[in-house]
């Protein structure tokens, strides 16, 4: 299905007002992405190119650079989220659940929400059997949480024409790949509609640090600028703001403090809620019941 077949064009000021409990204005949700990079494949991202160019395999230095995030960086990010009593959303590759069992356990112990992030870290357009991948990912998550995941984020937000249909058929209730709004919206699928919750490519450390090559301090500046604007916009109707981190990027010693400062600044506002994706979903389903 084409995107335009999945949802009607709609402008945000013309929609019915969405209200949060207790007079809150805005929801912030924090998504921590945990991946497993297969050392026998090309690396999903690189920090260092080989001398003289080319793409020799295996790519040990970039594999190791990512692995640092799961050995060391994740635990720094965890400490910051604990300090701010934030329950994050763990977007985790199905294969990473067993490989990085201490990380899954840390998320489980804190009541974080686990969402599907494909079985391995590669484009959904390269996956041979997409439905099987989506199922296997849910099964991996069930081994830790005992529950099927309700949300899904594609690796690099990738989808085929069919992905939302398969997700809905397999029982997923929301998807994060559609960064087209500041509020949740419904997408039509072959099965029942699936909710799109606003994820972000803007306040996302992959885009900022690895593609745009910003200084670490840009994470703080951009998060606060984004927050202040959305907080103002939310006077009219509730808004959702996502903050995305990857342990191998924001968990580097030189970057962590900019995440900590951004969260501290946003935590100063009593009328801002830190929710998980499923809390946003359940609220939205009540605010805007299915037709």
């Amino acid at each position: 299905m084409l995107p335009t077949e999945r949802l009607e064009f709609s402008v945000i000021p013309h929609r019915r007002r969405l209200s949060l409990p207790g007079g809150a204005r805005l929801v912030v949700w924090v998504i921590v992405n945990v991946e497993e990079w297969d050392p026998t494949q090309a690396m999903p991202r690189t920090v260092l190119t080989p001398p003289g160019g080319g793409a020799p395999m295996p790519d040990i230095p970039n594999w190791a650079w990512h692995e640092y995030g799961n050995r060391v960086g994740f635990w720094r990010i965890l400490e910051v989220l604990d300090q701010h009593t934030i329950r994050a959303v763990l977007a985790i590759n199905g294969s990473a659940i067993a490989r990085y069992e201490p990380i899954a356990r840390a998320g489980l112990d804190r009541g974080w929400e686990f969402i599907g992030h494909a079985f391995t870290q590669r484009s959904m357009q390269k996956v041979e059997d997409e439905r099987e991948d989506i199922r296997k990912t849910a099964a991996s998550i069930r081994t830790v949480t005992g529950k099927s995941p309700r949300g899904w984020l594609g690796p690099g937000l990738t989808e085929t024409w069919e992905t939302p249909d398969l997700l809905a058929e397999e029982g997923y209730e929301y998807v994060c790949d559609w960064v087209l709004d500041d509020q949740p919206v419904r997408l039509k699928t072959r099965a029942k509609p699936i909710v799109s919750i606003p994820y972000t490519q803007e306040c996302n450390d992959v885009a900022m640090m690895l593609i745009q090559h910003h200084k670490a301090g840009e994470y703080y500046d951009r998060a606060v600028d984004q927050f202040e604007q959305l907080y103002g916009d939310a006077a009219a109707s509730a808004r959702i703001m996502a903050l995305v981190v990857h342990p191998y990027i924001m968990g580097a010693p030189h970057r962590l403090k900019y995440l900590r400062r951004a969260l501290a600044r946003i935590r100063e506002y009593p009328d801002v809620l830190f929710w998980t994706g499923e809390e946003i979903l359940d609220w939205y389903l009540v605010q805007s019941p299915p037709p």
Binding site: L48, T49, P50, P61, E67, N70, Y100, P102, P253, K257
Partner: protein
Amino acid sequence: MIPRERCTYSAIVDRPPLILPNRGRVVVWTIVNLEFWDISRPMARQVLPAPTGQVLLPDVPNWSWHEYGMRVGVWRFLELFAHLKIRPTLSINARVCEEYERVARAARDAGWEFMGHAWEQMPIHQVADQAAMIGKSLDTLERFTGKRPMGWLGPGLTETEKTPDLLAAAGIKYIGDWVYDDEPTEIHTAHGPLITLPYTVELNDIPMMLVQHHESAYFMQRCIDSFERLYREGSERAKIMAIAIHPYISGQPHRIKYLEAVYEHINRHAGALHWTGTEILEWYLAARRNQ
């Protein structure tokens, strides 16, 4: 062997802390990289691509940009480290001992530790006989310094699946290619264990200046941000912080003052130690036994 066969996943929080002598908190490991760029091949890095993106052979502008480091830039490093009484670890293409004997001699006379860095600067995947190249490189460095090198860093940190086995067979004790931790680790090879030391692609002027295109001053900021975080963590467990520099990059007149400022900042802190790779190795082997 793929990385998983060499070393299983380990979360830093699950390990007993390593302790430094004399209330040390952070070991700063400075690595100076000296390379030989063969003018008959594409240059290892480029500051200036040719107009219309043509591949130039010979690529005189980029060859001479690198050559500046050997003629001028490296002497700024030698002066700085002599002044600070710091002995860096020299990651050196063995061919430098022949082609730039004057530079290699200055480093040797200053007491720097020589670490193997292949014969010349190209991805190790393109070397026809890796074992012979490793042997020739180590023999050349041994003849030049009188000591067999203990450590090795791949050009651009490159490795094939057998490189660690070949290095262990050649008598190498530690490598810098695995940037996946803040602590040394042990990996398995076909010829006994090999220690990984935490080299860096974060505090490294190649990714920072040539890949991410940061401003010169950002090198100082990132190093200081890293140091402050690691220094804090170093009150509970030993931390290693590598700084990796190249004379054609950080030896530029506009960059050297930021490098000087990094060491000025670090040296204001009690418990910051400046060690060579072999000093870190020997401490680690002993500290691990005492755990």
